[in-house]
């Protein structure tokens, strides 16, 4: 008899949609409703052949299946033996697991970092310089009459963003939905998102900083050059005029600006544009966070340690210095001699040289499915999927915390991340105690 579960929270992207319906029969997911393609696959693929079901340890180059006890013991040995372990990943698991991660990192004197390092790290650095004017997504749904997507393509990475939050929905003050709003897209390609825009600005690669500066000048009435980043002055002035006449501007930006050119300086500039616009009207800005709980990682890390990512516990207290204590850098300097990777696949997603350093050290991988990282790990521990088989908290891209639901039992013997990590921590403490 199929069962329909409502108000299910999707554990994929930063949209963290919580209005899904999931149809379950015999402890299997048959269908999801109100979901985008990315989220649907997440639910349906929770049970494919590459799902990890038993712990394994590498012995003489080959994987050998072992008990959970042996696996967590071996994991602890690797981490305790290391002088500078790295604990990385985290953005695709729930907050209670992250809290155990902080405790483990503190116990080990480890570097504690997540995908922010290679995603919106520059955004964090920028807002640590100039602050940020932002709001929750519902404020945008209800108030925004000008929506700008800069250097991001939600139709491919956050598919329901426009329909659930920003452009299409009817809001309290925008009763006619899209008709009450103007959509502007700035990108180097005419993306699917750009094709929906009222105004598309095809900026030249690496010219975002200049274009933002041009807007900051234009809104203050200064004359800008004939072309900035390939955009003609008339267009810049036209958009600046629309900005000043709007009642509530919402700007979203993504990896198009964090990963290129001036990186954090570009973000600094666009955050400053948002602030400058307050001389004329209301303006908010929001980074398009990729993973469903990358924001949650930043929140937990910040409240427990004082710092949002790239936290180094090697001195017994937390230190923060991205560029020094961030994952790619500690790997490239060859400092890390063991790694614990939780719910992430850095071997697939890090640049080549960084992955070589990662592959030269023992890796403990905790994940739900096989990945390129589990392929090269020394210890692999299967984990239950947060949001499907485990409850917990996740923070949406606008910092709204939503409780993930458990709608299915995990495969037999497969534990939540938080329990696995607690057992690793227990073993680490025991080994350290024995060493004394």
């Amino acid at each position: 008899m199929p069962k329909i579960i409502t108000d299910v929270v999707c554990p994929y992207c930063g949209c963290l949609c919580d209005d899904l319906e999931v149809v379950i029969e015999n402890n299997k997911i048959i269908e999801t409703r109100s979901n985008c393609e990315l989220g649907t696959k997440r639910f349906l693929d929770s049970d494919i052949p590459t799902r990890l079901k038993t712990p394994r340890i590498r012995v003489n180059g080959e994987f050998k299946e072992v008990s959970m006890d042996e696996a967590v013991q071996r994991a602890a040995e690797i981490l305790v033996k290391a002088k500078r372990p790295l604990l990385y990943g985290w953005s695709s698991t729930e907050c209670d697991a992250i809290k155990v991660g902080v405790e483990l990192a503190e116990e080990l004197g480890a570097v504690f970092d997540d995908t922010t390092s290679v995603c919106h790290g520059p955004t964090t650095l920028a807002l640590q310089e100039v602050g940020i004017s932002t709001c929750t997504l519902g404020d945008i749904k209800n108030r925004a009459d000008l929506v700008i997507y800069w250097g991001c393509n939600p139709l491919q990475a956050h598919p329901r963003h426009l329909s659930r939050y920003t452009t299409f929905p009817r809001g309290f003050f925008r009763e006619r939905g899209q008709e009450n709003r103007t959509l502007v897209v700035v990108d180097v390609r005419k993306t699917d998102t750009a094709k929906l825009a009222n105004h598309f600005l095809q900026v030249k690669p690496n010219y975002d900083y200049e274009l933002i500066s041009a807007f900051r000048l234009a809104i203050k009435g200064y004359k800008v050059p004939d072309f900035v980043g390939g955009i003609p002055r008339e267009k810049i002035e036209e958009i600046a005029g629309i900005m000043k006449r709007s009642q509530f501007i919402a700007i979203f930006f993504g990896l198009g600006v964090t990963m290129s050119g001036a990186k954090n300086r570009t973000i600094d500039n666009i955050l400053s544009l948002t602030r400058d616009l307050h001389k004329f009207t209301k303006c908010v800005i929001m980074p398009m966070r990729g993973h469903y709980n990358v924001t949650g990682f930043n929140e937990v890390s910040t409240w427990e340690t004082g710092f949002p990512y790239a936290v180094d516990f090697s001195r017994g207290y937390p230190r923060y210095n991205p560029g020094e204590t961030s994952t790619i850098d500690v790997l490239m300097r060859g400092e890390v001699d063991a790694a614990l990777i939780v719910a992430s696949d850095p071997i697939a997603h890090f640049p080549k040289e960084a992955t070589k350093h990662l592959m030269s050290i023992p890796i403990v991988a905790i994940d739900s499915h096989e990945s390129l990282t589990t392929e090269v790990a020394s210890v692999v521990i299967p984990a239950a999927i947060a949001g499907i088989e485990v409850d917990g908290t996740a923070y949406r891209m606008d910092h709204v915390p939503i409780r993930l639901r458990k709608i299915l039992e995990p495969p037999p013997g497969v534990l939540p991340d938080r329990q696995i990590l607690a057992r690793v921590l227990e073993n680490v403490r025991r080994l350290k105690g024995e060493a004394q």
Binding site: Y12, E37, L38, K41, D45, I48, T50, S117, V118, G121, P122, L125, N153, Q156, A157, P159, V188, R189, K190, D192, A194, Q202, P205, N206, L255, G256, M259, S260, K263, N264, G290, P322, G323, S326, I328, D329, L331, M332, D337, D345, I347, A348, H349, F350, P351, K352, E353, A354, T355, K356, H357, M359, S360, I361, H369, E370, S371, L372, E375, V376
Partner: protein
Amino acid sequence: MDTLKVILITGRTISQGTTREGKKKLREYLESTAICEFDPEDLGKLGIKEGEIVRIKTNDGTVVVRAKLSTQTPHPGIVFIPLGPWANEVIGSDTDSIGMPSFKSTPAEIEAAPHETILDALTLIRGRQATCQKS
């Protein structure tokens, strides 16, 4: 044209996103992620058709992937490879002292490579492993 100079950007797509979880060793992942999306004008300049194999070279490396016609056009002079191990073959690890590598807007050169084979993800990774020491 033998060599096309372009700007390379990497990023997310739906099909990369739906094939990355637990499918990295599968054909689906290779087909969605070991690709390079071209503006039709650039395909024309290179003298190749969609589906043919190309070699992309940056200061940081070389990789062989399949050419695809982009749906996010126009963008002449820019090519797009989805985030993943193929893109990362040609992305440097320098973080400009802020922790973030330059995943986007890297200068690159592209050539047709009709006789090359695209490595599957696992082979690609093993290749890297062979060039580093395991402790």
